[in-house]
Each structure stands twice: as C-alpha cells, then as structure tokens.
Amino acid sequence: MAHRSYLNGAYRSQPSSRISRTLLRGLSGWAFLLLTLSGQAQTLTISGEVAKPLTLQAADLKAMTHSTLTARDRDGKDHQYTGVPLVDLLKQAGVTLGGELRGENLTKYVLVKAADGYEVLFALPEIDPEFATRTIILADAVDGAPLPQGVGPYRLVVPGEKKPARWIREIKSIEVRFAR
C-alpha cells in the first residue's frame, strides 16, 4: 500500500514503508473491534452529481490508499491524522475534477453530512489538487489510534484553516450538487 505524508498541510511524497503498513494493519484491527462493539458498521455514501454513486463499507475505505498529515485540533495541539484524501473518494465516484473542473462544473459544491445533523460545504476547487495547495483528508485515525466515539469513524481534517469548524465528525454522507 502506498503511503504518503503531509506535514502541516504541505505535501511530500514518501515511499511505502513497512512501518506504515504495520501501523495500518494495527489500525484496521482496532477499527474492527470498534465496529464489533458498536454493533453496526457505519457506511459512507457519496451521491448527487457523480458518475457512480458509492456506498462504502469500512473495509472499502480501509483498502484505499491512506495519507498522514499533521494538523492542529481545537485543543491547540498538533496531531497526526491518517485517512483517505477526499479527492480520491470523489474521483472514485466520478466527480468532475482535474481537467473537467471548468465551466459550469465550477458551480458544483460538496455537502458533507454528519450523523448528528451537522453539515459543512466545500467548493470543488477547494478539494482538487490542481487548484488547492492543501489536501483535505477523510481521517479514520488520529495519532495511530482509531477516532474515538463521537468523532469517528470518519472525520474531515482540513489543514491550514484557522478554525476547525469544517472538521466535521461522524461523517455519514457526501453529496455533490450544482448550485441553482
């Protein structure tokens, strides 16, 4: 599994390492335990203006390439977050990114929804690496452990923002829509 690392939002490539693979395997064990404890698996859906709507199970997300970045949470401390770049998830669903992110596609937005009803919004260029200088990830682990209850199983980490208000927790769905 390829492993990339972001430091304070700055991206640097790193070859796949045995350490990170071991770490990730350890994490998946934890994630399994957590799911067993909670009784149900929380799925993640990606829908709306997509070529291929997705309903991702925990195992699907676990199998995707993970990246790690350091960012400062509300507690004022730096933490290591590991997760799937949001752009990779959207590409898998066939969202108009990269060369297709032009013209009317620039009026599309992404609405991320949490289990408790919280919702936050991003414009597609905030997510596309051809526009953005930072990488937003769908984190499933912090400092080497699965996200705790009330935060996980998935949380967005948006590096470089002064307020973590868009670090939405307990994500259950991602919708891509056209502004009307």
Binding site: S38, Q40, Q42, A115, D116, G117, Y118, Q149, G150, R169
Partner: protein, 363 residues
Amino acid sequence: MRAWMGLFIGFVAIGGISAWRGLEEPLPTGPYPLAYPAAFGGRFTIPADNPTTQEGVYLGRLLFYERRLSANQAIACASCHQQARAFTDGQRLSRGVSGKPTRRNAMSLTNLLWVRRLFWDGRSNSLEAQALVPLYHADEMGLRPGQGAEALQQVAPYPTLFKQVFGSDTITDARIGQAIAQFERTLISADSPYDRYLAGQYQLTASEARGLQLFSRAPSRDGIVRGGNCAHCHGGPKLYQELFHNNGLDQQAGDGGRQQVTGQALDAGRFRVPTLRNIALTAPYMHDGRLATLTDVLDHYSDHVQASPTLASELVSAQAGGLRLTSSEKKDLLAFLHLLTDTSFVRNPRFADPHNQLRPHLK
C-alpha cells in the same frame, strides 16, 4: 428588520380584520406571503404540489382546531398544541383518545418552516407527512386511515373549502395533511424582546446582558472565563441548530431517540435540539418532560449531566464538573431566557381557533 416588522404587523392587522369582520366578504385567496427576518434565511423547501395559499392556510387552521379528527371527537391538534403555551400543552406527557400518556413531550410548533427533520427523533421529513402521524396514533387522535376524511366529507364547509384549495371536494387524509402543513408553515415567531434587541430596538438590563454573555460564551479550560456555551446548539436568530444530541439526562437512555430511526449505536439517547423560542412558555422540559422548570434545566446542564458513550462532546466537560454555574449566573441566564418569549406570536389572532368566528357564508 424595522421595515419587515412593519410589514408583518400591518399584514396581521389587515388580515385579522378583513378575515373576521367582513360578514359578506369572500374568503381571501391567493398566495400567502411568509414574512420573516432576513437573518432567518431562506433554507426551506415548500413542496411544489402544496404551495402556501390564503385559502389553504385557512383550511389548515380549521383542521388544526377540528375535534372531529379524533376517534372520540374530543381531541384536536390544538388540544396538545395550545397557542397560549407556544403550541405545547403544559403536560409532561400528553393524553389523547386512549387516556394513556404519550411517549414524549408535545413539541412547540414554532418556525417549523425551517425544520428539516420533525419530531424529537427527526423521523419525518415533511410537515405534510408529520401531520398525519398523531391522527393515526392510538394514544393521540386514534383514527383509522381514511376515517377523518370520511367524517369531514359530511360536514360543511369542508367539501367547499377542499374544492377551493385542492380543486376537488373529495377529502383525503393526504389533503388534510397538506392543509395542516400549510397552516403550520405560517407559525412564524420573530418578535420577542431578543429579536428586538438584535434589531437594535431593545436595551438589555444588566442581568439580561450578563445572561446573554453566559448564553453565548464557552467557558475557558481554566475556568476563568465563565460561560454556558448554550448558543453552540441553541444559537442563531432562530435559537436552535438542527442537530440531534445526547444531552446527558441518563447514563443509559431508556428511550433510544434518534437511534430508533437510524439504527446506529452512535445515535443512542440523541434527540433533536429544540428551539429556545418561547421557552418560558413551554414547560415542562426535555423529550419526556422530566424537568418541571427552567431552573431545573439550568441545574441539569450546570450540575447533573450524566456521562455516557454518546454524550454530546460539548457537554463532556460539564459532566466532568466544568460548568458549575453560580446561583447569580443561573439568575442571569433565566433573565435572558425570558427575553425569548414572543407575546405577539402567542396572541396572534391568525393562529387562534377559527371555529368560534366561522365566516357566516361558510356556516
């Protein structure tokens, strides 16, 4: 805001007089303008097949107060949603046709235009669908599907009014729900002293100002900055965020709340964050009405929040002994909460029982 208030009051005055005084005057028809402060925002959807019209709102209002919509002809929507109490009933749990208490406390019907997931557990996505739930519930109005429609088909002025509103005098449950939903969309409350304060038209007393600060501000970790952080969930001009949280009433919730809708363990003991609008009028409090007074509510958040795996993260520090409001802080918060009472809403004649003032030509 000032212009808006003028429009709203003017509208109420003209509407109120022309609707109920003019004996030979026809029922007003046409679009029903929904007026609200710009700060409330336009994030709502009215179904394309149920636009809000004057005739539809009037019909919905008749139905809201209609006791024939119950198995024993004694219970209307308005029995448990009384205008003087901001459309609540003052009971811990309500009693309908069976006399058995309902499972949860009757919710205030205020600013429902903006609510996206209705009921304490958010299980209904539209006012049209929501309105029929109490109609069919054995412990609320106790009707069989179709029974209410059948009863009203025989009663003037309903067939005439349904024809006017829906283009057909055939009464159906779905149309009953649509008309009630139209009336409910008009129940807009935006004229409390707090609204006037936001519009620069009301001066807070010293205690109210301290209360507002405690309401709005999060306490610092070291306890030096005092705050209740109430606004985190109950903030904004509408005085709620559309969220479902476990507010620490129990270590083990007897009523799963939102979990019963989603089936997700992380939703255990979560209920909707209710609006604080008219909160002084809507006792008792919480989804099961367990807290009798606002003082009890402040005591809960200050001193009695129970730990559990799904406790809202905002309340974890309160549970760990972080909040502990003093008695003078609680007094100030109470003073602030009383600013949220909108007396023009609870006295608005357009929301009152129309059956005593039925338009003569419809009788």
